[in-house]
Structure formats: C-alpha cells, structure tokens
Symmetry: C2
Subunit: 457 residues, 2 copies
C-alpha cells in the first residue's frame, strides 16, 4: 500500500447528496437586485429565465440536497472520478510534500462542467421545459450543456463568441455532434445581436454579448426556453460539490488529510466544487485546512477586486450581485485561460474570502504554462490552461514545503485536460505568450461604473 498511486471509489460510493454551503456561510447571501430598479429581484422575475428548482436551490439553506437518481445515473458514465497521488511530480520537485490531484478531465467533454449541466438539464426536463439557451466562449461549457440536453431530450441553443466560432471550430463540432445548435454571436437572431451587426457586420463578439443574446432568447420565448449558466450561481457551485465530496472519501482511502486544498477560480464553480466540502470540515469539525483559489494575474478578481454590488454581465442587463468584482466593464487581456476571464466572482466564494475563510493567489499565464508542461512531463496529463493555475499553485506549495523542510499534504482540482488547447501550448513553446502586468488602469476605469446600491449592504 505504501506505493499506492490511485485512490478510486467504486460506483456505490458516488455521493447521494450535494453539499449546500449556504447552510454554513457566516451570513446569508444578499439576494440579487434588479438591473434597472436596484430592488431585490422576485422569484417571478427569475422564473422567466430559469427552472424553478434551480432558483430554489440558490436560496436553499439545507446543508444537503439530494442528487436525483437520473442525475446519478448519468454521473456514472464518468464518476466517481479518479484521485491520484502525483508521486512522479513529487520526485521531480524533490519535495517532502504529498501532492494529490482530483481529475475531472475524464468526463466525456474533458472537464468538470457536466456535473452541473446534467443536473440543470434534469430539472428543466422535470419541469416540462423543452430547451436551454446559453453562451460559450471557446466551447467548453457549450459542449457540456449540449451533451446534457441530448441526454434528457432537450434542445440546446448555444451563442458562441464569433471569433471562437470561426477560429476554433472543433468544440463547435463537439456541440453539434451532441445535437446542440450553435450560433456565432453577435447573431441576427436577437435585438442585441442585430444592433451590433448593423454597426459592424464583422463584430468579433464577446462573452458578455453572448450572455445577453442567450438571456434575450430565453426571456422572449414565452417559457419555451430557459437560460442556463455554467458557473457563478449558487446552484452551479452546489452541483460541483460532488467533486469535493468524492475527494473527502478518497483522501480517507489514502489515509491522509489535506493541509491545503487548491482550485482555479474564474466564475468560481470548480473551485467551489473541490473546496466547499473542506470548508465545511474546517467550520464544523475544527480542521485547519488552507483553502486557496488560484486566479489569473490578468483578471485578479479576488486579489485586486473590491467586494461590492455589480452587474453579473458586461452590459449591465443581468441582475446586480454582491461579489468580488473588477467592474463589469473590465475587459481582461486575451489570456488563453478563457474560462477565467470573468470580471466577477461567485457570491458564495466572495463571501468566504471576505470572511477570511478562503484565500487567493494571482498567477501569470507564463508561470501557469510552465507548470502545465512540468506536470505533463511528470504525470502525463497536459492540463487545460485554466487548470494550470491550480497546478502552479500546488507546485508553489510543494516548493514552499521543500524550502521549509516540512511535509505538507496538498490536494488540487485538475478540472480538465488541454486537448482542445494545444494551440496555446504551441504558442507557449514558441515563446509567443506574453506576461501581463496588473491592468490597473482598466480596472480603475471599470470601478467608476459600479452601480450604487447601499441598502442591505
């Protein structure tokens, strides 16, 4: 057993309930505000956009929420996911630290995203819905939702940032293979899209525009379509806790308990997924595990943003949320970790950071790719650029342990593989990737546009 590498769970160990961190937050989440009036939004406002079950989960206070059996049946196609001890990486670093990684890249689309996509599709079908609309950048989230909708007999309408639609067709083919309908955004299908195309027929699009189009299509569908979010919202993070709940069991199998738990953080869902069950252990059972969110230095929401009210989207049309933000008008540099280029942070993660229950580090993309290549050469898997932020943070922890001459048990979430990101690796190896300074001026400008909401603050 001394040299055991894998700590696999049998199918029977697949969790039967998600963990809802609302039950353990220092104070309840402030409810979202209406983007025009600034007043707390009503469930009726949200029900136009989203399945009722998901709205209820966002506000639920029970610590455990049962995973519906049809969702568990689909999870079994790739779950429980592996947890491995990175013995070869430890040897390469010559560190006394023990490094464990939870690997979500074994899902059919190669990331953690289906954990929530499948749940959302189940609830929509359960409520008699027929289709989801959503946005996607390079296509990671759109792939997961297209697959999930196919599994539950639902339509899936994906607004894909036009520049990615044209330059990165491979994820589009994945979505279309699953039966998803993919439209380059801005598209002529929405008022928002048409307005932009009139001004510039070759508009490259942005994630914020794609969100606006997906929401407009759902809102105007008379209930035929609902909108699905791939990160940020409490129900998304809830569904992702299956990662951490499995990892808790697997660390038990390994006979160790982590001193540090690490996830990369963009909207916050894979970080919340691995971290929240360990936060609960800290809060309820006196554990003192450090919980670390690794974010890009080019979009340092947690380390440089403010905890304030801000629009969830870029255009100021989505609800206003209390969260860590760089300003909804902030457009980060074009780093390759597209999934981490969001101006805000999940409200639950924001609240935990504000309460000092989690910490954050910001990492440059060059350091991330260096870590990814090192990891791949030791452990085989070439991680997604997003996941490389967690890899880098884990390596830095292991090197710190080495410098201190102490054993340290490190667990990180390897949220996905880099099979669809090899162009970025190619650019890294060719020396074409840039190091980015903190975009201070862009952040300062965006901060001046924060909405003013004072009550209930």
């Amino acid at each position: 057993m001394d040299k055991q590498t894998r700590f696999d769970l049998p199918e029977s160990a697949l969790p039967r309930a998600w963990y809802n961190i609302n039950a353990d937050l220092p104070s309840p989440l402030a409810p979202p505000r209406h983007p025009q009036t600034g007043a707390p939004v009503t469930p009726e406002f949200l029900e136009v956009l989203m399945p009722r079950a998901l709205i209820a989960q966002d506000a639920a206070s029970a610590a455990e929420i049962e995973i519906p059996e049809p969702v568990r049946e689909v999870y079994k196609l790739w779950r429980p996911t592996p947890l491995l001890r990175a013995r070869r990486l430890e040897a390469a670093l010559e560190t006394p630290a023990h490094i464990y990684y939870k690997y979500e890249g074994v899902s059919p689309v190669g990331s953690h995203k289906p954990n929530t996509a499948v749940a959302q599709a189940f609830y929509l079908e359960d409520e008699g819905g027929r289709a989801f609309t959503t946005e996607t950048g390079a296509g990671q989230w759109g792939s997961a939702l297209s697959m999930a909708c196919q599994f539950f007999g639902l339509g899936c309408e994906v607004y894909m940032v036009r520049v990615s639609y044209e330059q990165k067709p491979f994820r589009r083919f994945v979505m279309e293979s699953y039966g998803g309908s993919v439209y380059p955004s801005p598209s002529p299908r929405t008022a928002a899209g048409r307005a932009l195309l009139e001004r510039d027929p070759d508009h490259p699009g942005s994630l914020g525009i794609a969100i606006s189009e997906a929401i407009e299509m759902a809102a105007g569908s008379g209930g035929a379509k609902k909108y699905s979010a791939g990160s940020f919202l409490p129900h998304v993070l809830l569904h992702q806790t299956v990662i951490g709940l499995e990892a808790l069991q697997q660390m038990d199998l390994a006979g160790e308990y982590p001193d540090v738990v690490i996830g990369c953080a963009g909207g916050g869902s894979n970080f919340g997924g691995i971290a929240f069950p360990f936060v609960r252990e800290n809060l309820r059972h006196g554990r003192r595990t450090r919980i670390v969110a690794a974010e890009p230095s080019a979009c340092p929401t947690l380390t440089r943003g403010v905890y304030a009210w801000d629009y969830a989207d870029g255009a100021g049309m989505a609800p206003i949320i209390r969260m860590h933000t760089l300003g909804h008008g902030f457009v980060p540099p074009g780093i390759h970790a597209g999934g981490l280029r969001y101006h805000g942070m999940a409200p639950q993660v924001s609240a935990l950071l504000d309460a000092g229950l989690v910490e954050a580090v910001a990492i440059d993309q060059l350091d991330c790719f260096e870590a990814g290549v090192l990891f791949g050469r030791a452990e085989g898997i070439l991680p997604a650029p997003e996941s490389n932020h967690a890899v880098r943070a884990a390596i830095d922890e292991a090197l710190a342990a080495k410098a201190a001459g102490e054993k340290r048990v490190i667990l990180f979430n390897l949220s996905g593989h880099g099979n669809f990101d090899m162009a970025a690796y190619g650019r890294y190896m060719a020396g074409e990737l840039e190091r980015y300074d903190y975009p201070a001026e862009a952040v300062a400008a965006a901060m001046r546009e924060l909405p003013e909401i004072t009550d209930g603050d």
Copy 2:
C-alpha cells in the same frame, strides 16, 4: 447491483503479466525474412534496430511475460481503465443485448497506444539506450512514445507525415510538450528524405516514407538510437493484452461473459489487446466467444487481402512478413481513420484468422461516423474514427440480437476518444465524407508486386 454501470478495478488488480499468444498459436510464427536476401533474419540484424528484450519477446513462447514493476507504476497513472455497460446505448437501440465497452481513452494521450510505448521505453532505458526514432501519421503514436520516453529519460525523434505536420499541428504540440523532437517527413535529415525533397521540395509525405526515415536514423546511429513500432509486431500486441486481461476480470465483476468480443483493426494492436486473452479462454477453457476484427472497407486487409509474404513497409526496405496483406504498394483512400490505413496485418492476428479462430468485418467510414455520433449521444464519449469501426460492429451485433430476439453479451474495445478528430466529425455532419467502394484495381495492382518466397511456406 441490477443497475450497475461501471465495473472498475482497484489499482491492486492491475495485471502482473502480459499474455503471450505465441504460446497458443496453432503453429509457430514464421520468422521474418530479410528484405534483400529473402533469408530468415538473424537477431543480430534486428538488434541494430530494436532493444534486445523486444526481439526476444517477439519470439518468446511462454504464455505469461512479467510486466516490469516500473512499467506497472506508470500504467497506474491511468490503469486499470474503466469497463462500462452501455445501458443508455442499449436503450436507444431497444436491444435485448448487453453491450460492454472497455475504455482506453482515459490515458493521458487519449488512446491505448501508451500501453506499449511505456514498456518499450522501459526496456530501451534498461538496456542503456538513449533515444527512440519512430514515425507517426496524425500523431497518435508519436504522442504516446514522446510521453513514454520523457518518463524514462530518453530522447524521442518522431518523423511526422508532412501534410499532417502542417495541417494538424495540435498533436505535434502534444509531442513537443512531452519533449519529443518532431520532424516533417520527408526531411533533409535522411538520405531517403533528401532524395524525395530533391524531386519535390513540397512532397506531402506518407507513413511508408516516415517509417523509412525513422529506420534509417536508427540504423545509422551506431546504436545511439533504436527504432520503435507502434503496432503490428508481436511485442506490441503482447503489451496491449493488459486491456483484455483487465476486461476478463471486469466481466467477472459484471457477472457475465461475452458472446462476442470486438476491436477495430489496422496494424492489429488494439484488437489483439482486447481479443487475445479471450482467444485463450476459447482455446484452453472451451469458451465459444466469437472474436471479431472490424476494419475499414477502404483498406480491407483481413476480409479481402491474401495470406502471403510481403514487406512490412511500403517501400520494400523493411523485413518480409507472412501476413494478411493488400500488397505493400497499396495506398488506401484518404479515410479519416488514419490509424487503420495499413496494407498489412499483425502476423499473430493473420495466423488466427487463417486458422478460423477470429473473424473479420469491413465497414465503410460513413457507417462508422453514424455509429460514433449515436454512441456519443447515448454514452457521452465521441470516439476516435478508428474506434468507431468497433462501435459500428458492436451496434450491428446488438441489432442482430434484437432481430433474433435473443440476449447477446457484447464487449468491445473503445480504443480512444475523438478529441483530436473533430474536424472529421465536422466534415461528416456537413455531408462532406465519401463512401468508398472496394478499391479492387489498386489492390490487384499491388498484389502483382508481392515478393516471391516459397520455402517454409
């Protein structure tokens, strides 16, 4: 247990020995012949090219060959691989058949290829070697060998068909991330390459040319470099039997035994990997499982080729082998299952087919992609175009069982995922893929060029 989907093995169940089918062949394999003299080749001739341990394995007669512990340690990065019951596919087909698939796509490079790459790298390092040379088409095998060489501190020199090198750079970036050196073939590094480049500086290359360059570089290196083959040779198939040996245990967990075992067949290594342990059960324990090789109708080596002596490479420079062949000069149409475009077939598989111990079916690529999309929409994974041949054959078996109104237990090897093949899926969905008739004239022409070897036949 009734609804169990996954039949995962613990790390401790990872096999400790490969199965060597030489022990159970109806008659010993005819030794390879020298390409110039036609005489049986000596070990000394082969030792210039390959590690001694691998040459010995090709001729070994023991039924079990121990897997070295350092190889098992690397296998644990992704093995044992999953075996799943495709319950959702069964439901989609409304078949009484039980369909199981062994999934090799969880390896870091997404296919079964590392099973032998890791073993070969171990033996080369063990014998004091420093580097491998090899050829690759789209990069599947080159990725596996680059990773394996990195793990054992060896150099890896990959000759990649130029048209793929230029048009499909992503697998090249994978190889380079692992530290492999990738050269477009034909290259100016070899006499063979220079001769072709002189005639046509823009020569697109071919797998046959790349093989010649890799062999030339090894042969002329004074022992510094050896040549590595990714399929076809007995030691490659030996290493791949870890697939079937795990599957045997996993079918036990499922409480069933397959009536049919299916693998796709190009050079024969993933087919041999899943099939040989079940062939042994047939021969030694009176099982009557049908063993089916699924090959492309555009390159129908087993179903339309002859069992004869032929060169292992396209140029007539590699040893002459007794095998099923379409003629070494046969160039198949440009189907997307690049890994199945080989004129010959592994001598062990050829011998089994000749003895009636395995059977073969030929399938058109359009039917394969249709099966792949159906599989992906039911089970999530979008398979590699090569693997789709096995998927199609399994679906056809399940439909035949439905037509006959009988339960049938089907096991197939899902040898890899299609993440790097989505352009082919895109072309399939756009209706751009062709159906190919049997290339009768090209085969007939190639057959006229078979070498004449009569003794020992």
